[in-house]
């Protein structure tokens, strides 16, 4: 098991952001997390690499116990890749440097090793020609593909995607999803917060539906789309798909 979340809760004052969440993800699995806005899905995924702290419960990821007070979070995070809604490329660094800097400073790879790895990944996401540009010179879709390459450069055991296409213009969503589909087919363990139900149908193993901080459904893809989801999930699905 790569990710094990048990009885996790988190609240801001009286407001429960996460309420007794349980989730386990096996190696090679692709899990899509969906739900209405404010349902806690982004918070949950940020708890998985310790960007958000949990108040109660247990989380282990890639062999680390995250909820141990003495957990060395940087060590955990270097084995867990994360892609953000707003890309968060480093604007002061070139595309190539965005992909090499953590390899050098965190993984202690040499400049040559890091550059070779970065170029291979740029080829994989189809952006080799952009390597010397700065992020602001690229389209949103290109930036997000670079962000995926940057995370992959650390050879992660798991990839977390936090609404990776929500900030994109519609015509750029496809190019990012293509990279994610390719990654899923290559056997990467992935947790994706997304509303892209087409992506979920084609590569997800399981769908997790969240509402009001609770995990309401955690079912196989075919069950979820085949009418065996909870009534709350079905209501949500109708809204997402009818538009």
């Amino acid at each position: 098991m790569v990710i094990d979340v048990r009885n996790v809760s988190k609240s801001y004052g009286d407001f429960k952001v996460l309420s007794d969440c349980n989730l386990s993800v096996n190696s090679g699995e692709v899990v899509v997390v969906c739900g209405p806005s404010g349902s806690g899905k982004s918070t949950l995924i940020k708890c998985l690499n310790g960007l958000e702290a949990v108040h109660d419960g247990f989380i282990s990821i890639a062999g680390f116990n995250l909820t141990d007070q003495h957990a060395d979070l940087p060590s955990v995070r270097r084995t867990v890749g994360m892609v953000f809604q707003n890309f968060e490329l480093f604007p002061h660094l070139s595309v190539l440097r965005n992909i090499t800097i953590a390899q050098e400073k965190v993984m202690r790879r040499t400049r040559e090793e890091a550059t070779d790895k970065a170029l291979a990944l740029l080829e994989r996401v189809g952006l080799t020609t952009q390597k010397d540009k700065y992020p602001s010179q690229l389209s949103g879709g290109q930036q997000q593909r670079i962000a995926i390459a940057r995370a992959l450069a650390m050879d992660p055991q798991v990839m977390l995607f936090d609404e990776p296409t929500s900030a994109l213009d519609p015509e750029m969503i496809g190019e990012v999803l293509d990279v994610m589909v390719e990654l899923a087919r290559a056997g990467m363990t992935m947790v994706c917060v997304t509303h892209e139900m087409g992506f979920a149908k084609s590569v997800a193993d399981r769908i997790v539906f969240m509402d009001k901080g609770e995990i309401v459904d955690d079912v196989a893809k075919n069950d979820f789309f085949g009418g065996n989801a909870s009534s709350r999930a079905q209501t949500f699905l109708r809204k997402v798909i009818s538009h």
Partner: protein
């Protein structure tokens, strides 16, 4: 009567020129040391440890709330009473640095706060440790943001070094005053000093514009989207 001859001879006077050189190195040293101390104060100010942030707040309050003139006099003529004897140069440099650090720390803090939180999250998610997040991601971006106010600080520091003349630091203004006492050409000599200060601040203006152009690399949005088609 105004003497053009006197004015031009002092404009190229070696003694005055050396005073201007002192002004320049004093400014450079004070800004570099002030930036270093200011960064430390800014980080303390932003610390979650209450004692650190309180210490920084008190420091800033104290050094921004009292005149540089008073700080210099305390350092140079007050401290010997407690057995600490500083040379003129030490007192001038320490005084300017301590004072400058208080202002710069607030500029640096504003710069750090202006870097979006998402950038820190992205850096953390890659496994960067806290100091690496600062060093490689936050500070380079904060530096670009603080260049305009930092340029202002350097401009005023160039002129503020003249205050050290009161503790007999032989910079531009002090040397001008010494010559005035000998030659009585008050207006000519002050005009020469004013021209030196103007030349220095103008030169700095040019330098600042070049630095701004250099660090804004990568921040010009939408430059080549059209080119890519």
């Amino acid at each position: 009567m105004w003497s053009w001859e006197g004015f031009f001879s002092y404009l190229s006077n070696e003694y005055i020129f050396q005073g201007a050189v002192t002004t320049i190195w004093l400014t450079i040293a004070a800004i570099l040391l002030g930036l270093l101390l200011g960064l430390i104060i800014a980080l303390l100010r932003m610390s979650n440890v209450r004692a650190f942030s309180t210490f920084a707040a008190v420091y800033i309050w104290l050094f921004r709330g009292t005149p540089l003139l008073v700080q210099l006099i305390v350092l140079y003529t007050g401290l010997p009473q407690m057995g600490i004897r500083l040379t003129v140069i030490q007192a001038a440099l320490i005084g300017l640095t301590l004072n400058e650090a208080a202002y710069l720390s607030e500029i640096i803090r504003a710069g750090i706060s202006a870097v979006p939180v998402g950038q820190q999250n992205a850096a953390r998610a890659l496994g960067f440790r806290n100091y690496q997040v600062m060093l490689y991601v936050v500070l380079p971006q904060a530096f670009r943001i603080i260049i305009p106010p930092l340029g202002n600080s350097i401009n005023s520091l160039l002129k503020m070094t003249s205050v050290t003349s009161v503790i007999s630091m032989e910079e531009l203004l002090r040397r001008t005053q010494i010559l005035i006492q000998e030659k009585f050409m008050v207006l000519e000599l002050f005009a020469v000093a004013a021209i030196y200060y103007l030349a220095l601040t103008t030169l700095w203006d040019f330098a600042q514009r070049r630095i701004e152009a250099r660090v804004s690399r990568g921040h010009k949005t939408n430059v080549s989207l059209a080119e890519q088609g």
